[in-house]
């Protein structure tokens, strides 16, 4: 999709949104926020649905770990590429092998996002990126009749 450049070359751009995850009822709201963010970056409808599904899935993982967490969704620019980044702290992974956690996360969400990473730190964090490619950009499919 996009050549992996150093993270320093990634610039945070609007929209900048947050989801305060406390219970399973937040999943519906999160899906809505994810779709709105993707819409603001001109992603087509199918990509919005894809991002919303990935965010819902991440939140299910957070809740299953018994966590309450802020999930950040924001635009990202890297060279000429624009995308959406979803990230959150993942304190529950602190005692896990992060490589295994990354593999598990990719098997669950990897098909929906271009990048899914678990980043070491205190606490560790999860980052996912969906890049806006020409196929994912509006207009999705013009009506031709």
């Amino acid at each position: 999709m996009t050549d992996q450049l150093p993270d320093a070359q990634r610039i945070k751009i609007p929209p900048v949104m947050m989801i305060d995850v406390r219970s399973s009822t937040d999943i519906v709201q999160a899906r809505n926020i994810a779709r709105r963010a993707a819409s603001l970056l001109n992603f087509n409808t199918a990509s919005r649905a894809q991002l919303a599904g990935a965010v819902a899935s991440l939140i299910s993982i957070i809740l299953n770990a018994g966590q309450q967490q802020i999930v950040h969704i924001h635009g990202i620019k890297q060279g000429g590429q624009v995308g959406l980044m979803v990230r959150c702290d993942a304190a529950w992974l602190a005692l896990n092998n992060l490589e295994n956690a990354s593999v598990a996360l990719k098997s669950k969400i990897g098909a929906m996002m271009d990048e899914v990473r678990v980043i070491a730190g205190d606490p560790p964090s999860i980052e996912m990126v969906l890049w806006r490619t020409p196929e994912r950009t509006l207009p999705a499919k013009p009506i031709r009749y």
């Binding site: 649905a49 098909a111 929906m112 999705a140 499919k141 013009p142």
Partner: protein, 124 residues
């Protein structure tokens, strides 16, 4: 111009709700209750949009979508899946079957459906 929408939904209650929502924004709506009828109808009189449920008798929504997208006469008709199945796997199955949007039936479904119609140029 009035656009025609084919709604494929086997629950009469939900079909009536979707029909009402679409007619309220000026669309002409036809409802069918199963997959084979949907394919037949789309072939004989191609609508401008198909709104498709997943759980249908005899053929599920994914199969219906794949058939529509494989057929040269119906492949360009946008398909919106409106469904109770919202897991990542189901979402990806829906999108990979060729759906243009995949909208879970939650409290925001109506709003997202209107957004999608706007993006498709069916409403202002």
């Amino acid at each position: 111009m009035s656009y025609r929408v084919l709604v494929v939904e086997d629950s009469p209650t939900q079909a009536a709700q979707i029909k009402q929502a679409l007619e309220a924004v000026g669309l002409i709506v036809q409802v069918v209750a199963d997959g084979p009828d949907a394919i037949r109808e789309a072939m004989s009189q191609p609508p401008h949009l198909v709104v498709l449920d997943i759980n249908l008798p005899s053929m599920d929504g994914y199969q219906v979508c794949r058939r529509l997208k494989r057929n040269p006469n119906t492949k360009d008709i946008p398909v919106i899946m409106l469904t109770e199945h919202a897991s990542p796997k189901e979402t990806m199955t829906g999108l990979q079957s060729g759906a243009d949007d995949y909208i879970p039936k939650d409290v925001f479904a109506g709003e997202h459906l209107l957004d999608s119609l706007r993006e498709l140029g069916l409403i202002d």
